[in-house]
Structure formats: structure tokens, C-alpha cells
């Protein structure tokens, strides 16, 4: 299977702190790939490097055979990478549908004069976009909530809406930053199914940051473990579970032997 995204020795520093250190990752197409690690291990920083929010000092990131290093985040989105955020960042004063319509922005063409003069092409495009939004709304299970302001939605719905917004640009790859954070076991179970569904039905590659080990072990095909910005392990869930360094990183050295996983 070909790799859709390759990171080569990516390094990102903030002043004296190296948040991501010579990290190399290869993500196969149509896979579910997880990045885990203790708090402050540099997972979100790595996401921010991929989506162009940060510019890494060293290394290269190749997506679909082309380097995306140095591109701005809107260009990276257009290339086919979409993301969600650890602390939900919806457009909170827009309705759910409007959030989904904004998500379709890069696929649409209208600028100033189309809407002003109400050209046929613009109307067709708006109509199609609205239909697509309603379809997405159904898909993420928010039917009948489309006209609510995003900030008035319950927490779980907001999480799903954020994923819906990311899906609206028809990405090839989806970056999910702790999608089950703050969810109860039932919701978590549903989210896990939903993520698998995204990959199986839509063929989207999923890159996941997650704290819930059950989720990670349950759905990932491959896992990379970060600690202090460095990769300390990589492999299938099985490999990771038995890896001594990973246990140490999570539990602190010395205590590792005493606690039974």
C-alpha cells in the first residue's frame, strides 16, 4: 500500500524547547494511524506542522507525492488534509448548516459578482452546497439541528459537527485531535464506530491523536508513540502494548514494574 503522507525528520522548536524532534512517520493510504504519548509530548504540535499552522525548522512533509512544507494552511486544506481540534473550535455564532457550508468553501467557486448578480452558476452551486450540507447533517446524525447555532449544540453534537465540517471539503486525509475527549463510554463507542465508518465507507485516511487507550488499541492499524517530541516506539497495537519504553513513558520510570497494566 502506498503512503499518503510521509514526514521526514520533522523538527519544531519554540525558543529553547524542542517540541517535535526529528520525527519521521509514514502513513499508508486508507489506514487508521494513531499518535499517542503523554501530555506535552508534541502530538498537537505535530498536527500543527502538518496543517501548516507551524513551519517546522527542519525536515520535510510529503503528501500525495508532493512536499507541503511551507504551504499555508488553506493551501494544505485544498490539497486534501482536513482537521479537527482538541478543544472544539467551531464557528460558534454560525448555524450548524453554515459551519458545513464554510467547510465546502474550497470546493466552491463564487466570489463577489456571482452572488451580487445572482448568476445561474452561483445559484446552482449554492443549491448543491446546501443539499450537500443537509446530506452531511444526516450523516453525522444532526438532522433537524441544522438551524441551531453551533454554540447551542450539546457537546457530543459539537464534536460530530466539527468532524462534519472537516469532511465537507472532501479530504483525502482527516486529522482528528482527541475526538473522544470528554465523552462517556457509550458516546466513545459510537465515535469509534463512526471513525471506522469514515475510513471504510469514504476511504479517508485517518490520523488520530487519542488518550483513550481502548479506542486507540481498538481501531488503529499502526501507532506511533511520542515522548518529549521524540518517537519512542512504532508498530501495531500489539507491539505497543508490550513495549517497555512506552509503559515507562506513561507511568514514569521506576514505577513501571509495580503497576500492572
Amino acid at each position: 500500500m502506498a503512503n499518503i503522507l510521509t514526514a521526514e525528520t520533522v523538527t519544531k522548536r519554540f525558543g529553547g524547547l524542542t517540541a517535535v524532534n526529528t520525527l519521521s512517520i509514514e502513513i499508508p493510504e486508507r489506514s487508521i494511524y494513531s499518535v499517542i504519548g503523554p501530555n506535552g509530548a508534541g502530538k498537537t504540535t505535530f498536527f500543527n506542522c502538518i496543517t501548516g499552522f507551524y513551519k517546522p525548522e527542519e525536515g520535510d512533509i510529503v503528501f500525495n507525492g508532493r512536499s507541503i512544507l511551507g504551504l499555508s494552511s488553506d493551501q494544505i486544506n485544498i490539497r486534501g488534509i482536513s482537521r479537527t481540534y482538541q478543544n472544539i473550535r467551531l464557528f460558534s455564532n454560525l448555524t450548524a448548516i453554515e459551519n458545513l457550508l464554510v467547510g465546502q468553501h474550497p470546493l466552491m467557486k463564487a466570489t463577489l459578482f456571482g452572488p451580487i448578480f445572482g448568476t445561474a452558476a452561483t445559484k446552482r452551486e449554492e443549491k448543491a452546497a446546501l443539499e450537500e450540507s443537509l446530506r452531511l447533517l444526516n450523516f453525522i446524525g444532526l438532522a433537524k439541528k441544522g438551524d441551531l447555532l453551533a454554540r447551542n449544540l450539546p457537546y457530543g453534537d459539537q464534536r460530530r459537527l466539527e468532524i462534519g465540517r472537516a469532511l465537507a471539503s472532501k479530504p483525502k486525509m482527516l486529522l482528528l485531535d482527541e475526538p473522544t475527549a470528554g465523552m462517556n463510554p457509550n458516546e466513545t463507542e459510537e465515535m469509534t464506530k463512526f471513525i471506522r465508518h469514515l475510513r471504510d465507507e469514504l476511504g479517508i485516511t485517518i490520523l488520530l491523536i487519542e488518550h483513550d487507550m481502548r479506542v486507540v488499541m481498538g481501531i488503529s492499524e499502526k501507532i506511533t508513540v511520542l515522548d518529549y517530541g521524540e518517537k519512542i516506539a512504532e508498530g501495531t497495537p500489539k507491539d505497543i502494548q508490550g513495549n517497555q519504553r512506552v509503559i515507562e513513558a506513561y507511568l514514569g520510570r521506576g514505577t513501571a514494574g509495580q503497576v500492572n497494566h
Partner: protein, 353 residues
């Protein structure tokens, strides 16, 4: 490699590059021509420098108010220019009555101290009031909201003082004791300028010591670093914020007196231009950075007093002094574009900026 290079370049950078190059080119050509023509003597240039430093130290005092508040709230106190105006406008009445009774001449030192006290007290009161009304209730609101209330407060203050004291310019009395000047070689410095520079330097030193060594000062720095953590450590964040506003306002009040003895004219609108200039100075030195504001003020003062002649005279621009505000504002734009962290400031992360 080539692709990566192309990736990195975008439209904005190119446009900014062109603007920057054009302005720098203009400055270089202008300065070169002015110097080549040699219409100005060394003495004149030195006068500009002295004037610039005096003017700059006033800017620096006001700039400290912006920087202190920004450091702690990450917000620009838009009403700060009115805080500056309030002090010196109010102290005018004391100055006028002391001039009438002759006290101003017989006991100049005490009289000026009284003026400082009145101006600083008024400004402090106004500064604390602004914090109470325009900032405190909105601590968790979106950024645009306190910004707009502060703009509102700025206009309320301007027109309240206009209503209270009238809309004419009031002429500060001239103090005979402070007439005249000292000369060393080509350097000529008026007594007023000496007073301005020394008082500003003294106040800045005092502020620096206060922030570095007192308990409140340390708490201020802690709050500036991280409000939530500071609150957890048992610091009363609201009280510290009030003190920060008060401190900045007191300095602005003092600056108001220095401004008044330099230009000897006050009215309700006097805060606007020095306010923006001081803000520029604060940005120039790196907003949130106390020594930066001092340096930025002096630098802007020099730039503004030398700049118009140096850059524009050689280009045959008539009356270049009319454009000194344009130069200051352009400076602000350039700094924000090319070095938003200022001369001394550390680069603010994107979330903070």
C-alpha cells in the same frame, strides 16, 4: 528544494517586500540628498536631537501606561490618551491660580510638585475608573468588545472634559525660573528640556525599581505571565490589574505636566496625537516590555524630530514638518509589519498576538 522555496513565497510577502524596499529607498535617497545639500548646520541637527530626546521622554512615560496594561491584559487601553489629557488639563487651573498669586515664581519647585501631584492624582482616578467601567466587567468577553468600550470611554472622557472646562486652548503660565538654556559647545539645551528629561528619567527609574523589587511589582509580573496560575498562587488578580492601571495612569499624568510645561497649551483633544505616538513607541520597543517602552519613546522622539527634515527636505517636499505625524504613523505600520516584536520585545506567539 525549488518547489519548497516556491511554496514559502506568497503574495503578501511580495507586496510587503516591495512596500518596505520603496520606503527604505525613499529614506536613504532623501537623507543622502539632504546631507549632500548641507542646508543645516551641526548645531541645528543637535537641536533636533535634544528636542527629540525631550519629546521622546514624554512619549516614553505615556507609552509605559500602554505597555503595563498590555503586558497584563493583552489589550490596548484605548482611553489612555484621555487619561493623559485629564491630568494636565485639570492641573491647569492650579497652575493658573498659582501663577496669579506669584507662588509659581517664588516657590517653583514646590509649585511644580503640586502640579505633578494634582495631575497624577486626577489621571490615576480616571485610569482606575476606566478599568472599572470598560475593562473589569468584560474580562472574559471577546476581544473586540472591551476594545469598543475603551473607544467609547475615550470619547466620553474627551467630551466630558470639554463640557467641564470648555473647548478653548488654555495657555499654561510660563515659569520665569525655567526660562533660558545651557550651552556646551554646539549643544544647546533649554532649562525646560532639562526638567523634562530628568523628571522622566527619575520616574522611569522609580517604576523600574517598583516593578522589579516590590511585592506588588512581582505580583504584576506574575499576573502578566499567566493570570490563572497567579490566581492559584493566591494573588488577587483584580487588585493587581487595578494597580497596573493606576501606575500607568499616574505616569501619564506626570507626562501631562511635562507636556504642558514644554508646549504650554492644553485642551480636551490634546491626548489624541501624543496617545497614538506613545502607542507607537510602545510597539516600537516591544509592547509589554518596560525598558522597551522607554527606548521606543526616545527613538520615536528622535525619529520624529530629525526625520521630516532628514528624509523629506532633500526630496524638495515643502513644509516637511507638516508630515511628521505621517512619518510616525508609517513607522508604526512598518514596525508592526516587519518586526512586530519591537526592538526589545520577544516574539509573541500567535495565540497571544
Amino acid at each position: 528544494m525549488r518547489q519548497r522555496f516556491l511554496n514559502r513565497i506568497n503574495f503578501t510577502d511580495i507586496a510587503l517586500g516591495i512596500i518596505g524596499t520603496a520606503l527604505v529607498g525613499l529614506i536613504v535617497v532623501g537623507s543622502f540628498k539632504t546631507l549632500a545639500e548641507g542646508n543645516y548646520t551641526t548645531r541645528q541637527w543637535l537641536d533636533f536631537v535634544v528636542f527629540g530626546i525631550a519629546q521622546g521622554s514624554i512619549y516614553a512615560l505615556i507609552a509605559l501606561g500602554y505597555t503595563l496594561v498590555y503586558g497584563i491584559l493583552r489589550m490596548i487601553n484605548f482611553a489612555h490618551s484621555e487619561v493623559f489629557m485629564a491630568g494636565s488639563f485639570t492641573a491647569y487651573f492650579a497652575a493658573a491660580s498659582m501663577a496669579k498669586s506669584g507662588f509659581l515664581e517664588t516657590n517653583t519647585f514646590v509649585a511644580v510638585l503640586i502640579l505633578f501631584a494634582i495631575a497624577m492624582a486626577t489621571s490615576t482616578a480616571i485610569g482606575v475608573l476606566v478599568e472599572r467601567v470598560a475593562y473589569r466587567p468584560l474580562r472574559r468577553a471577546p476581544r473586540l468588545v472591551p476594545l469598543i468600550t475603551a473607544i467609547g470611554a475615550s470619547f466620553v472622557l474627551q467630551y466630558t472634559f470639554k463640557g467641564l472646562y470648555g473647548d478653548q486652548f488654555k495657555a499654561y503660565p510660563e515659569i520665569d525660573t525655567l526660562k533660558g538654556s545651557y550651552t556646551w559647545g554646539d549643544i544647546n539645551i533649554t532649562k525646560v528640556q532639562v526638567v523634562v528629561i530628568l523628571s522622566a528619567a527619575f520616574l522611569m527609574l522609580l517604576l523600574y525599581l517598583y516593578v522589579q523589587f516590590t511585592k506588588t511589582g512581582k505580583a504584576m509580573r506574575a499576573v502578566a505571565e499567566d493570570k490563572d496560575v497567579a490566581a492559584l498562587m493566591g494573588i488577587d488578580v483584580d487588585a493587581i490589574i487595578v494597580r497596573t492601571f493606576a501606575l500607568g495612569a499616574a505616569l501619564a499624568g506626570a507626562a501631562g505636566i511635562l507636556y504642558a510645561i514644554t508646549f504650554r497649551q492644553v485642551n480636551f483633544f490634546m491626548g489624541f496625537i501624543p496617545g497614538i505616538k506613545a502607542f507607537t513607541a510602545a510597539v516600537l520597543g516591544g509592547i509589554g516590555n518596560i525598558p522597551g517602552a522607554m527606548l521606543g519613546g526616545i527613538f520615536l522622539g528622535l525619529f520624529e524630530s530629525i526625520g521630516p527634515i532628514l528624509f523629506l527636505d532633500g526630496l524638495n517636499v515643502p513644509a516637511p514638518y507638516q508630515l511628521k505625524d505621517v512619518i510616525a504613523f508609517s513607522m508604526l505600520v512598518l514596525v508592526l509589519l516587519f518586526r512586530p516584536s519591537g526592538i526589545l520585545g520577544e516574539r509573541l506567539s500567535r495565540t497571544k498576538a
